[in-house]
């Protein structure tokens, strides 16, 4: 019975992956990709990882989907005449590529089926060492305590992505969509309810992340989703320049994590040692702010954010 559930979710994933990549209509492909991300979130939940389910739904499906939609809209505006996608026009190589891809599937499948193991040495060491950190969530343990150099660099990657986008697009502040002058009353009511709730959910995820599913990434993605809503409804607008608040928010994650890690050297501790759960909360809060603002700016494709009309 449980195998049947696995089989149907897995089959759905394969079909959605195919539907998002085949077919002429690119917009439909993007929508299918978002649904694929949501089913992948179900997969993570099914496999037993609510942390990844939340991250996948918020970032993998939500933010990536929003980014793809905005890019699609921009490309449409630059060259409306460009055919949507000429892709399924048969290339002579298509059959060969299909054959090679199938061979690759077989090779990966065989190798991975043999590689399924009973968990690694590092995984067991993690479960033994976790109680000493005062954390209950092994993922937060790995991210903030055991392998935190990876996490510092990851927040730095986000910052680098923002800088790279700015280098490529220049200082732009074009707004994504002009909200109509007469806004429907429901929009204001919706934003009034959803925005505070998102902040509440984000703070809960941040707090819960040390012992339950949640953490800085899920919290940051929730805040970013709230920011996308504010951008789309004109409460926030894209600006051509990043003010001091936006700049501060962009670097606070990398800065707090990095400075904290270096400061521990002065106390005779190793680099990036974490003295207690209070430090975990401090670092995760800073990371949440940076992740949220960076994702919002990537979505807006702009240098900074400004207050909206309403």
């Amino acid at each position: 019975m449980s195998l049947a559930v696995d089989l149907s979710i897995a089959a759905g994933l394969v079909v959605l992956a195919w539907r998002s990549l085949a077919g002429r209509d690119l917009f439909r492909g993007i929508v299918m990709y978002i649904v694929f991300g949501l089913l992948l979130a179900v997969t993570w939940a099914r496999l037993g990882s609510p942390d990844l389910a939340m991250a996948e739904a918020a970032i993998g499906a939500g933010v990536t989907g929003a980014l793809l939609m905005v890019a699609y809209w921009r490309l449409k505006r630059i060259s409306p005449a460009e055919p949507e996608d000429r892709s399924p026009r048969r290339s002579r190589l298509a059959a060969t590529v299909a054959l090679l891809s199938t061979g690759m599937v077989a090779a990966i499948g065989l190798a991975a089926v043999q590689a399924i193991g009973p968990g690694g040495i590092a995984g067991r060491a993690l479960f033994e060492a976790l109680p000493a950190t005062g954390l209950g969530n092994p993922i937060t343990g790995v991210l903030v305590v055991f392998r935190n150099l990876d996490t510092v660099l990851e927040v730095a990657v986000l910052l680098a992505a923002y800088l790279a986008v700015r280098a490529v697009l220049g200082d732009r502040g074009e707004s994504l969509a002009q909200p109509p002058p007469q806004e429907a009353r429901l929009v204001g009511a919706l934003v009034g309810v959803v925005a505070p709730l998102s902040v509440l959910v984000a703070l809960y995820l941040l707090r819960a992340g040390s012992y339950l599913p949640g953490g800085a990434f899920q919290a940051g993605a929730t805040l970013a989703a709230c920011g996308v809503l504010l951008l789309l409804t004109g409460r926030l607008r894209a600006a051509a320049d990043a003010g001091p608040w936006v700049r501060g928010a962009l670097v606070v994650g990398t800065a707090v994590f990095g400075l904290f890690g270096v400061a521990m050297l002065a106390f005779g501790e190793p680099l990036l040692a974490i003295p207690g759960t209070w430090a975990v909360y401090l670092i995760e809060t800073a990371m949440m702010v940076s992740i949220a603002v960076t994702l919002m700016l990537l979505f807006a494709g702009a240098a900074g954010l400004g207050g909206g009309r309403r």
Binding site: R92, V97, G119, L130, I291, L298
Partner: protein
């Protein structure tokens, strides 16, 4: 057939679908979706192949995948910016030359 086998085979198939589309598709946005699909397949492989420890999933691949999801969205955002600039500069949204022999 165990459920781990089901997931591994599904992930391998999704990777194959993504690889095929990456090579065959001409629109760059479509190719970018293909790369993302392949990435998702790798994430599933990573977690499932690691196997459980005492009934729970191994925390280390989970943390790696969480990092991977965020890095993937950063890279996607950058790639989309490059794509928009390419379209502005050339008016075309693919890397094809017009007179490519195997085109038709």
């Amino acid at each position: 057939m165990t459920s781990a086998t089901v997931w591994v085979l599904a992930a391998a198939s999704i990777f194959g679908v993504g690889l095929y589309a990456l090579i065959v598709a001409r629109h760059l946005l479509r190719q970018l979706i293909a790369v993302n699909v392949m990435g998702s397949a790798v994430f599933v492989l990573l977690v499932v192949a690691a196997g459980p420890i005492a009934g729970a999933l191994d925390g280390i691949p989970l943390a790696l995948v969480l990092t991977g999801i965020v890095v993937a969205v950063s890279a996607t955002g950058f790639a989309l910016a490059l794509l928009v600039r390419l379209a502005e500069a050339t008016g075309s949204i693919s890397l094809e030359d017009d007179g490519e022999p195997d085109d038709r």
